[in-house]
C-alpha cells in the first residue's frame, strides 16, 4: 500500500533538525490518501517528551492512520517525521521505530496463546543464534520491571490462562522490555472491563512518571479527560485543535469531534417531510435483544427498537458498540441469546437467513467484499443470483440466460451501474458501482425492511449521494430501513429518528427536527446518558 513517491516525501535529510529538538516526536505536513479517499490532509503534530497525549475523533477521522505512519507501518504521501529531535530517513519502518524506542500497542494482540508470559515477552528479542537464551537474566529483569510498573503477572503462566486485561499488560511489558519510550496505544480500552480500564489508566500515569511519552488513541472522552495532558482532536483527516486538558470540557471536545457545517449537507433531504414514517405500522421490531460477545460481556445488551413502515431509523454509535452484532442478529447470521426479532408482527427469531429474506428482509452488509459480492462472477450473476430460483429467470432448474441478461441490463440501467456490460466480472467495477450492484440486488428483491450497514463506506461523493437518494426513495415507497452508520452526517441526512448505541445499549433517542448533534456526540462517547 506504500504510495509511489513516498521515498522522497519522507525527506532526504536525515539527522538533527532545529524544529524537532526537544520533542519526542514531530509529524509535519502529513498527507495520506487511499485511492480516492483522503485519509489525512496536511496533519502536523508535536508530542512533548513525557506527556500523555490523547488523540480523539470519530471512526475514520484518521487517528490510527496517523499513528501507524509515525510507527512506520504506513508511508505518508507527503510530510516529514521526526523522532527524538532527529528527522527520520526513508527507511523508516516498524523495525527501525522499535529500535529507536517507538512502540505501538495494536487493538489486536500479537501473542502466542500457548507460550508463557516470559516467552511471549522475549519472543521479539530472541535471535536465531541464541540457542540457549539466558532465561535467568531476563526473568530477573522482567521481575523488576513488573514491580516498577505494578504488573501482577506470573511469568510462567501460559498466556491463554490470562484475562484480556492481563494479556494487554503482557503486550505493554513486551514493548517496555524492548526499550520503548514512546508508546502508542490504539483504542486500548475497547476490550477492557471498567476495572481493567481504571488500572490501565493508572499504568499510563506511572509510565508518564517514569519519563515515557504516551499517545492514547481513543474515542471515549472520559478516558482522555481523566489521564491526558493534552488532547488533539481529529476530524475528517485534519487536526481540528490541540487543547490542554485543564482548559477544555467534554462538551467542547464532543462538539469539535462531530460538529459539521450542517448547511453543507444535502439540503433536499432537509426539506423533505420528517415524521411521515412514524404514523405507519411497525415492520421491524426487536425487544430486549441480547447477543453474546467476546469476553463475557454481551455485544448487544437488551436493545429494543421499532422501525415503522416508510421510516428510516438511524443507529448512531462509534464502531464496535454492538451495532454490527445487532444487524447480524436481525438478518439471521447469529442467534440472539434473548429477545425476539419480529417482522410485521411475525416472530422470525427461529428463521434462517433465507427464510427471513423470503419474508422481505433485505440486507446491505458493512463489508461488501466479505458479505455481499462475488467479485469473480459477472455483474449479471451478481444481480440475478437472489431471484434465480424464481420463474422468469429460470425454468425447471435451467437458467434462462437471455432473461437474466435482460434483467441485469434493466437493473444496471435503473441503478446506474456503469460497467462494460453485464458479462464483466463484478470485481473490475469501481467501488461505487459495486455498491450499486449490491443496492440493486437488495432493492429489486422488493423488500419490506432493509438493514443497511455503512452503506456508503469508501464511496466517492457522487456514489454516496446516489446510494442515499435510493435509500430515501425506498423509504418513501414504504420500506422500513434500519440504517447503521458511524457517519453522523449520513444519519442526520437520512434518518427520521436516531437512536444512539453505546456499549451494546441504546442510550438516547432523537426525532428528526430535534437532532442535537452535540448531545448525540456526547452519548456516542459515553457521556451524558439520558436519565
Amino acid at each position: 500500500m506504500a504510495a509511489r513517491g513516498a521515498t522522497e516525501a519522507v525527506g532526504p535529510a536525515e539527522g538533527p533538525d532545529e524544529a524537532f529538538v526537544g520533542q519526542a516526536a514531530v509529524l509535519e505536513g502529513i498527507h495520506k490518501s487511499f485511492g480516492p479517499v483522503r485519509a489525512l490532509v496536511d496533519v502536523s503534530l508535536e508530542l512533548k517528551r513525557g506527556e500523555i497525549r490523547a488523540l480523539v475523533g470519530e471512526n475514520g477521522a484518521g487517528k490510527t492512520t496517523l499513528m501507524t505512519i509515525l510507527y512506520g507501518m504506513l508511508k505518508p504521501d507527503q510530510g516529514h517525521i521526526g523522532i527524538w529531535g532527529r528527522r527520520v530517513g526513508s527507511g523508516w519502518s516498524p523495525r527501525e521505530a522499535m529500535r529507536q524506542g517507538v512502540g505501538m500497542l495494536h487493538q489486536h494482540f500479537s501473542l502466542v496463546p500457548t507460550h508463557t508470559v516470559l516467552e511471549n515477552v522475549l519472543l521479539p528479542q530472541l535471535t536465531w543464534g541464541a540457542l540457549r537464551p539466558d532465561w535467568k537474566k531476563h526473568r530477573a529483569a522482567l521481575g523488576k520491571l513488573c514491580e516498577e510498573y505494578g504488573f501482577q503477572l506470573r511469568l510462567d503462566a501460559p498466556l491463554r490462562t490470562l484475562a484480556v486485561g492481563q494479556q494487554q499488560q503482557v503486550e505493554i511489558l513486551k514493548l517496555l522490555y524492548q526499550g520503548t519510550r514512546l508508546l502508542i496505544l490504539d483504542e486500548p480500552t475497547s476490550v477492557l472491563t471498567p476495572q481493567q480500564i481504571d488500572s490501565l489508566l493508572n499504568l499510563l500515569a506511572i509510565l508518564r512518571r517514569q519519563g515515557h511519552t504516551v499517545v492514547l488513541i481513543t474515542h471515549k472522552l472520559p478516558e482522555a479527560m481523566s489521564v491526558a495532558d493534552a488532547i488533539t482532536v481529529l476530524r475528517g483527516g485534519r487536526v481540528i485543535d490541540t487543547v490542554a486538558r485543564d482548559s477544555t470540557t467534554p462538551e467542547a471536545l464532543a462538539r469539535m469531534m462531530v460538529n459539521r457545517d450542517i448547511s453543507g449537507l444535502d439540503l433536499e433531504f432537509e426539506s423533505r417531510p420528517s415524521a411521515e414514517g412514524s404514523a405507519g405500522k411497525t415492520v421491524l421490531a426487536v425487544r430486549d435483544l441480547v447477543v453474546g460477545g467476546e469476553g463475557g460481556r454481551p455485544a448487544v445488551d437488551g436493545v429494543s427498537l421499532e422501525v415503522k413502515r416508510g421510516e428510516i431509523l438511524g443507529v448512531a454509535g462509534v464502531a464496535g458498540n454492538g451495532q454490527m452484532e445487532l444487524a447480524q442478529a436481525i438478518v439471521g447470521l447469529s442467534q440472539p441469546s434473548d429477545g425476539p426479532v419480529v417482522m410485521s408482527g411475525k416472530d422470525i427469531t427461529r428463521l434462517d437467513v433465507r427464510g427471513r429474506k423470503n419474508l422481505g428482509l433485505g440486507f446491505i452488509p458493512e463489508d461488501r467484499h466479505e458479505h455481499a459480492m462475488f467479485p469473480e462472477m459477472s455483474v449479471r450473476d451478481n444481480l440475478t443470483l437472489e431471484r434465480l430460483e424464481q420463474p422468469p429467470l429460470s425454468r425447471a432448474g435451467l437458467v434462462r440466460t437471455q432473461e437474466c441478461r435482460r434483467a441485469a441490463i434493466e437493473a444496471m440501467k435503473e441503478y446506474d451501474v456503469r460497467a462494460m456490460g453485464p458479462g464483466v466480472p463484478t470485481g473490475t467495477l469501481s467501488g461505487g458501482n459495486q455498491q450499486k450492484v449490491v443496492l440493486a440486488r437488495v432493492l429489486s428483491g422488493k423488500p419490506k425492511v432493509i438493514v443497511a450497514c455503512q452503506p456508503t463506506r469508501g464511496l466517492d461523493f457522487a456514489a454516496t449521494r446516489y446510494v442515499r437518494e435510493r435509500l430515501w426513495a425506498a423509504s418513501e415507497e414504504g420500506v422500513g430501513i434500519l440504517l447503521i452508520s458511524s457517519e453522523l452526517e449520513e444519519l442526520l441526512t437520512l434518518s427520521h429518528r436516531i437512536v444512539v448505541m453505546f456499549r451494546g445499549r441504546i442510550v438516547g433517542e432523537f426525532k428528526r427536527g430535534s437532532f442535537d448533534i452535540e448531545r448525540i456526540g456526547l452519548l456516542m462517547t459515553g457521556q451524558g446518558r439520558t436519565p
Partner: protein, 376 residues
C-alpha cells in the same frame, strides 16, 4: 465456456497476465526439465518428444490406450472439480474410485443376468459407493468444521485398505495367487463403440464432462455452486441454501470418482487386484486445478493421458525414464500454484478501498469471524 477458455480469449484486448505467466513459465520449466533428463539419458529433446507423441497417438492401439487412460483421469478431475467449485477440496477421489470399482465388480459378479440391466446397476452402485465414501468428510466439515483436506486424504487410505481386505478376503478369486477378484465375465466387459473404437466408458466420461459443463454454467444449481465457492458468506446472505449446495456438489463429484473406478474395472483391467490402480484419483486433483471447468478438465486430461501412454514407448526407445512425465505433469501445477499465490495472481481486480483507514479493519475482522487474538 470454462475459465480456461475464457482466459485464453483476450478480454478487452488483454490476456490475463497471471494466465500468460503460468503458461509461459510452464513451457520454459518443462523444456528445461526435458532437456536435463534427456541429456542424462543421452537423447535429444525432439527425439524424446516425438517418440512420446508417437507412442501415444502413433498407432491405432496407442490411440485407444490413450483414450482408456483419459477416461478415469477426466472423471476423477470432475470428482475434484465439482466440489472445488463449491469451496470443498476433495482429495479423496482415489479412495472413492477404488470403492466404486469394487462396488461395480461386486454387482456384476453377484447379479449376473443381462448386461443391459446389470451394467447400469453396476455404474449406479459405483456412484453410490463413491458418494458413501464422501459422507464422513462432509458431515465432519459441516457439523464440526473439520478440514476436508485432511479427512478426505485420510479416507483414501481407509478405502484403499478396505478394498484390499475384500480382494484378499471374501472377494478373492480362489485361483489367483495374489489378492484379486475374479475377472469380469465377458458379457459385462464394456464394448468398444464403435467396434474397434474406444470402450463405452470413454463415451460415458465425455458425456459426464458435457453434462457438468451444462450444470455448472446453465443451471440454477451450478450458479449457486459457483457462488458458494467464491463467497460462502455472501451466498448465505443471498438466500442460497449453502449447506445443501455444498453437499450436492461434493456428493456429485464423489459419484464421478466412483464411476471412474467402475469404467476402469469393467472397461480396462477387468479385475480389482493389488496395485491394479494407477493414481488416477490423484492425477484428477492436478487436472481439476489446471482445468478450472469441465472443458478445461477435458483438455488437461487429454494432455495428461497422452503423456502417460507416451511415457512407456519413450522409456523403451530412448532410455529416458518414464518418471519424466510425472515431472511434466507436476510442473504446471507448481507453476499455477506459485503464480496464484504471488502478487500477480492474488491481485484483486477491484480497486483498493479503505474507507476509514485501518480503523475499519477491526469491525471487518470481527464480521469475518477471524480475530486472531487469544482473548478469553
Amino acid at each position: 465456456m470454462t475459465r480456461l477458455l475464457r482466459k485464453l480469449m483476450p478480454r478487452g484486448g488483454q490476456v490475463d497476465p497471471a494466465f500468460a505467466l503460468t503458461v509461459g513459465l510452464t513451457i520454459v520449466a518443462s523444456i528445461l526439465a526435458l532437456w536435463i533428463c534427456t541429456a542424462f539419458a543421452g537423447a535429444s529433446v525432439t527425439q524424446v518428444l516425438s517418440t512420446m507423441i508417437e507412442g501415444a497417438l502413433g498407432r491405432r492401439n496407442a490411440v485407444l490406450a490413450t483414450f482408456a487412460e483419459f477416461a478415469p483421469i477426466a472423471l476423477c478431475g470432475l470428482g475434484v472439480l465439482i466440489p472445488y467449485r463449491a469451496g470443498f477440496f476433495n482429495i479423496g477421489t482415489q479412495g472413492q474410485l477404488e470403492v466404486g470399482a469394487l462396488a461395480a465388480i461386486t454387482v456384476v459378479l453377484t447379479l449376473g443376468g443381462s448386461p443391459w440391466v446389470t451394467l447400469p446397476l453396476a455404474f449406479l452402485a459405483a456412484c453410490a459407493a463413491g458418494m458413501a465414501a464422501s459422507v464422513i468428510p462432509i458431515v465432519l466439515k459441516l457439523r464440526r468444521g473439520a478440514s476436508e483436506v485432511t479427512t478426505t486424504i485420510m479416507l483414501n487410505f481407509t478405502c484403499v485398505l478396505l478394498v484390499y481386505a475384500m480382494i484378499t478376503g471374501p472377494l478373492k478369486d480362489p485361483s489367483a495367487f495374489y489378492g484379486a477378484t475374479p475377472p469380469v465375465p465377458a458379457p459385462f466387459r464394456l464394448a468398444a463403440v464403435p467396434a474397434g473404437g474406444p470402450h463405452l466408458g470413454v463415451w460415458i466420461a465425455l458425456a459426464a464432462l458435457l453434462v457438468f459443463e451444462v450444470i455448472l454454467n446453465r443451471t440454477v444449481f451450478g450458479t449457486q455452486v459457483r457462488a458458494v465457492g467464491y463467497n460462502r458468506q455472501a451466498a448465505l446472505l443471498a438466500g442460497v441454501r449453502v449447506d445443501r449446495v455444498t453437499i450436492l456438489a461434493v456428493v456429485g463429484g464423489a459419484a464421478m470418482a466412483g464411476l471412474a473406478g467402475s469404467i476402469q474395472v469393467l472397461g480396462v483391467t477387468y479385475r480389482v487386484a493389488e496395485t491394479w490402480s494407477k493414481g488416477w484419483g490423484f492425477t484428477g486433483i492436478s487436472v481439476a486445478l489446471l482445468g478450472g471447468g469441465p472443458v478445461g478438465v477435458l483438455i488437461v486430461s487429454a494432455i495428461f493421458a497422452i503423456l502417460e501412454t507416451g511415457a512407456r514407448s519413450m522409456q523403451a526407445l530412448t532410455g529416458v525414464p518414464a518418471a519424466l512425465v510425472y515431472l511434466l505433469q507436476g510442473i504446471p501445477v507448481l507453476v499455477y500454484l506459485a503464480v496464484r499465490s504471488s502478487r500477480l495472481g492474488a491481485r484483486k481486480a477491484a480497486p483498493v478501498e479503505t474507507g476509514s483507514g485501518s480503523e475499519g479493519s477491526s469491525s471487518q475482522a470481527r464480521a469475518g469471524g477471524c480475530r486472531m487474538e487469544g482473548a478469553e
